[in-house]
Every structure is written in C-alpha cells, then in structure tokens.
C-alpha cells in the first residue's frame, strides 16, 4: 500500500510550502491529498441533495443534523488519531459508552458548574482508559486489533456495571451545550462544540512535534525509528488522544440524548471506522487529515435522513454506507496506483 508518492514526510510538506504562493500551495496539497477536495464536495453535494429532496429544510433540520453527527464525528476523530499512527482502536464505542454512563449517572442532580467539573473528570477518565489501551498494545505487542477489541468488551461490561439500563440525566444548561443554539438559529451549538473541541485538541497536536511523530510512525515505522522517533511512546500517546476524543464523544452522546445508555456506544465503533475510511484516511497509516472523517460523519448522518424524506426504508442507509466505504477505498487504491506509475 505504501507507494513512493505516499512517502512524503510531513516535515517536507511544512518546510516546502512555507514561502509559496497560496494557489500553488492549494494545488500541491490537492494533488497530494485528493480527499481534501473530495470530502467537502461530497458533503456539499449531499447537503444540496437534502435541500432538493426536502425544500422546507430549516434551521431545525440543521440542528438535528449537527446533533446526530456530533457523537459520530468524535468517534471518527478518535479513530483518526490512532489510524494515522498506524494502529486501530476497536474499543472506541465502549469507551464512549463508559463516558456516557459516567456522565449521566453522576450529573443527574448536579448543578451546571458541578456538571462541568464532572465533564472534565470524565474526559480525564477517557484519557486514562486510552492510556491503558496504549499500554496493553505497546507493552504486550499483541496486535492492536485484538488488544482493543478485547479491551472494548471489558469497557462495554464496565459501562453495564455503572448503569444497568438507560437512565440518569444531566442539568438542562449542560444539555444545551449540545442541543441548543447560542448565536443564531442557523449555528447549532453542537457544531460549535465539535469545531471547538476538535480544533482545540487536534490542531495544536498536529502542529507539535508529537503530531509529526504520529505521522512518521504511521507512514513507516522503521524509518521513523531510524530517525530517532520513540515509537512506543508515540503510539501510546495516540491511544491517549483516542481515549480523550472518545470521552468527548461520550459527553456529546449525553448532551444530545439527555440520558446515559450503556449499549448506545457499540454502534459508533464501526461507524466511526467507516467515517474514517470514507474521510480518506489510509488504514495503512501516516496519511490523511482530520477534516475528512468529521465531514464524513455528517455525510453518514445525512444519508438515512435523505432516505426518510424520500420514503425509502432508512435501513438502506447501511447498504449505502457499506458501498461507499468499499468504493472509496477501491477508487483511492486505483488513484494511488496510477500516481505511483507516473
């Protein structure tokens, strides 16, 4: 899968583009990473289709779209960090479930200030769970698919222990962070929260040394090792950030549903992975941007909505999702092959 054209290092990309024209930079990044153009286009097309199908598209529809996509986008973001570092995390859904039930069971009678404190605690718990996953993967050398799949079972069970059946709650002000609108009706809080959380965590990470190391380890582990990157530490860090994003996703799930449900998270593991794949992240690692998977989460949320508007069984959405995943990866493979042949 790793072809010469993929072997670009992030260091080169940063240095070469620093004093270049904006248009040149645009075309170069487009050529390097077609998903940069493709994902926004897909999102715009699916939004346009929704408006055509459903001309009464209003601010309410936008709000419910943002609310529906919020947990999925965070799950995709969590998966993206690990996939870029060359691993995979199949415990994301369970970690989201743990965060969700932790938040919902403790916040039920809390004030807004307390619930914010609790949210920070949940985030730290998520990072700790991620760290534990990372430790297992790095120390035991069990392949990450197996390690995270099994730890996912464990966390799924713990979520059931914390909250046996759907219940709990959170103060209304806290829920409003994910459901209401603060500025205008066309700017749902869920969207603001998503952009803020992903931006605050991911952009500094990507611009830091650790971010470069993540890409380096993902694109070629041996080359990264020979360049002096501490591989174990980098992969460990990737799992911590994955746990953190999963916890944010769990909180998002609490905000949008208003309750904690121990089994609600399961869906997000594979859907998040689907969004990552559709978003143009190579599962071989070392390539891709955060924008793709987050937008793919919106596309995946739009598909069933459109089907409902069209009076088609929304369960066809899964079929479309599966087809999209396979077709996009196949087309990406062909494009890579053509480019490396040049």
């Amino acid at each position: 899968m790793i072809t010469p054209s993929e072997g670009k290092s992030p260091i080169m990309a940063v240095r070469a583009t620093s004093n270049m024209r904006l248009t040149t930079r645009f075309w170069r990044s487009l050529r390097r990473d077609p998903s940069l153009f493709f994902m926004p286009a897909l999102l715009v097309v699916s939004l346009a289709m929704t408006v055509v199908i459903h001309p009464q598209f209003s601010d309410f529809d936008l709000q419910s779209l943002a609310m529906g996509a919020l947990p999925l986008a965070f799950a995709a973001a969590a998966q993206t960090v690990v996939v870029i570092s060359g691993g995979i995390d199949l415990s994301i859904g369970s970690v989201m479930a743990v965060a969700n039930v932790l938040a919902a069971s403790t916040m039920e009678k809390a004030s807004f200030g307390q619930s914010l404190l609790l949210a920070v605690t949940v985030l730290m718990a998520g990072a700790a769970i991620g760290a534990l996953n990372g430790l297992i993967v790095v120390l035991s050398r069990i392949p990450d698919v197996v390690a995270t799949l099994t730890s996912g079972f464990i966390w799924g069970g713990i979520a059931l222990v914390i909250l046996e059946k759907p219940g709990g709650g959170a103060p209304q002000e806290f829920l409003n962070l994910g459901t209401g609108t603060l500025f205008t009706a066309w700017l749902p809080n869920a969207l603001v929260l998503l952009v803020a959380a992903v931006g605050l965590i991911w952009i500094p990470l990507r611009r830091s040394k650790l971010g470069l190391q993540l890409y380096a380890v993902g694109s070629d582990r041996i080359a990264a090792f020979r360049s002096g990157v501490n591989i174990d530490r980098t992969r460990f860090a990737a799992y911590i950030f994955s746990g953190l994003f999963s916890a944010v996703g769990g909180l998002g799930l609490t905000m949008t549903t208003g309750i904690g449900a121990p089994l609600a998270g399961v869906y997000y593991t594979l859907s998040g992975l689907g969004a990552v794949v559709i978003g143009g992240i190579s599962l071989a690692g070392g390539r891709g941007r955060m924008l793709g998977p987050v937008m793919a989460a919106f596309v995946l949320t739009l598909i069933p909505t459109d089907l409902i508007f069209l009076n088609i069984d929304p369960n066809f959405g899964q079929v479309i999702q599966g087809t999209l995943i396979v077709v996009i990866v196949m087309v990406g493979g062909f494009v890579d092959k053509e480019r490396s042949r040049k």
Binding site: M1, T24, V146, L273, V277, V319, Q321
Partner: protein
C-alpha cells in the same frame, strides 16, 4: 505475535518462573488455553458446587459450537494476516434466510443459508484478493451491506412456515445418544478437516506463508491471490462444503509447476505437501527464511540493476547465507520492498502542477 520474544510481559513472567515455562507457553499456546479452561471450570465448581456435571458439559458444548464454527472460518482469514468483520452479520443473515425459507423444505432452506455465506464470502474475496482493498475495510463494508439488506428484507418478507423443520431444529439444538449435542456432529468434522488442511496440505501451508510475508509469496508466483480468496468465504454454514473443495483442489497438485519444480523452493519454503509435519512446517513459518527467500526471488526479477548484485553474486545453489542478507547496506528491510521504478524529478514552485 508469538515470535516477538522480547516483550516486557514475557520477561516479567520469565523472571517469576525461571524461563522454562515461558518457552513452553510461547511454543504451545494451546497449553495456556487448556489451563485457562480448567481454571474457569474449577472456578464455577467452587462458586456453585454441583454445577459441573454431564448435562452442564453437554449444554456448554451446545452453546459453544456455533462460536467454534465461526472461529474456524476466522482462523483461516487471520492466518493470511487479514480479518473478517462481516462474520456476525453473515451468520445472522444466513440463519434468517434459512428460517424464512423453511417452507420450501429442509435442503433448500439449508442451501439458502449456505448461499448467503458463499455470496458474501465471494464478494469479500474478490475485493481483498483481486481488487486489493484492505480486508478490514472490505469486510466492514460488506458486513454493513449485509446487515442493511437483511433488515430491509425482514420488513418485507414474512416467514412462509410457522416454524423451522424438525430436522434443522434437531441439528442445531437437539441432543442424541444420551446428551451429545448434535451441534458437535457438525462442528467436529469441520474442525478435523480444518486442522488437516492447515497441517497436511499445500493450501494450509500457503495460508501460513502469506501471513508471514505475502510479498515473498507473490514473488514466488504462488497463487497467493486465489489463496486470499478462499478463506474469505467464511460463514457459519458454508465451511463444510468449501473446505472439502479446498482439499480436493489444493492437496499437492494445485500449485503451478514453477513452485513445484525448483529444488531451492522445496528446501526453503516448501509450499507442497510436507513430508514431515513438524520439521518442515516450522521452518517455512520462520520469517527470516521467508525474507531470505523473497530476497532471492526479487533478485531474480531485478537482475543486475540491484546494487547488491555486485556485492553478493548468486551462489550456485541459489541460496545466500542469511548473515549476508542481514548485513546488507540497506538493512533488513530491503527484502520487504518491491523493486521501485525510477521516478522523474518533479518541477517545483509555480510549475508544480
């Protein structure tokens, strides 16, 4: 995963137990599993004395059989380094289709169930082996498709018989001969065939070889692509037929003459039926051997354009001592890389398009 000997975990265990146990457990994973099973059974017996008896054991086997059959299919896929995420969905679809078509009779109903597995497995195989989609992505996609289609179908189609035929019910849930679950009668032959195929046939050996180093396999001209395709066909019910077919086509004769005829192949990476099960088998699964061999195959392709050609001209036997390979100026990774074509230098700056 087991050949990575220097893990912290195994070092800790070695420090505690003195090393002998670690090497035993590392070479014989099954010992660990049996010990774990015994410990679990003992735990149940201690927690609720009197639970463990013949009826309990027979019930456990009854519930374990479907999982065991699915795991058998997954084993084949994972040996090649892949994974099949669609097994759960395929098993569900298979069961549902069989149940809703049970009005047609026993044989057509079972055929419907098997058909789902074969169709989805074939799609997976084509995607993974021929179109080179990563197995994880491909099976995730087909799993979602299967599930979606099944849900839609289940809302349209009602069962055409009040219940599944007695024969199918007995096969899945019944017991015979005083408590032996009938599941076992399906499971045990599948397991035996699987173990036979993996240990005694060229096909099984190919599976290990691909998992070790699929690039080397491809360079060997072994039918690696076809090999990927077969195990991807893994559904609960489809194993039986599929495995039989494999045995027939692959036992020694299915491989192309290029692989069969060359002496160094036979010595190093024997893809044919093994003469001695253990000796040959272990050697072929040795990654260093596979790497060395892939280096040879690559050199044969690249010829004199390989800079190492001048340092280490091919010996008469076609074999290099492994240390020459390991000490090459490119390091050990060389053997993994396919020959690259020379790339034109790209223009920079404004002409970058």
């Amino acid at each position: 995963m087991t050949e990575r000997a220097n893990t912290v975990f195994s070092r800790v265990v070695a420090a505690v137990t003195g090393g002998g146990l670690v090497s035993l457990l590392r070479t014989r994973t099954i010992v660990v599993l049996v010990l774990l099973l015994l410990a679990l059974v003992a735990g149940i017996e201690l927690a609720r004395p009197g639970t463990v008896n013949a009826l309990w054991a027979s019930n456990m086997l009854l519930f374990a059989a479907p999982l065991g059959i699915v795991a058998a299919g997954q084993t084949l896929v994972m040996l090649t380094g892949g994974i099949d995420l669609s097994v759960a969905n395929v098993a569900t679809a298979s069961a549902y289709l069989m149940a809703t078509h049970s009005g047609l009779g026993v044989a057509p109903a079972i055929l419907y169930g098997l058909g789902v597995g074969i169709v989805v497995g074939l799609i997976n195989g084509i995607g993974v082996a021929l179109l080179r989609v990563q197995p994880l992505v491909m099976t995730l996609g087909t799993g979602l498709m299967t599930e979606g289609i099944l849900v839609v179908y289940s809302q349209k189609k009602m069962a055409d018989a009040p219940r599944v035929p007695q024969f199918i019910e007995d096969l899945g849930a019944g017991k015979s001969l005083g408590g032996i679950p009938n599941d076992l009668i399906v499971w045990v032959p599948i397991a035996i065939v699987l173990i036979f195929v993996l240990r005694r046939t060229g096909y099984g050996r190919l599976l290990y070889a691909i998992g070790d180093n699929s690039k080397a396999c491809r360079l060997e001209d072994s039918p690696a692509q076809l090999c990927h395709m077969r195990p991807a066909c893994s559904s609960r019910r489809s194993h039986h037929r599929w495995r039989h077919q494999l045995c027939r086509t692959q036992a020694g004769r299915g491989l192309p003459p290029a692989v069969r005829g060359r002496s160094d192949h036979r010595r190093n990476f024997d893809l044919r039926r093994p003469r001695r099960i253990f000796g040959h088998h272990r050697r072929s699964a040795d990654p260093d051997r596979a790497e060395q061999h892939s280096y040879l195959a690559r050199r044969a392709r690249v010829g004199s354009s390989d800079p190492l050609w001048h340092h280490h001209p091919p010996s008469r036997s076609g074999l290099h001592p492994p240390d020459k390979l390991i000490n090459n100026p490119y390091g050990k990774t060389l053997a993994h890389e396919t020959p690259r074509t020379r790339r034109r230098p790209r223009p920079h700056g404004r002409d970058a398009r």
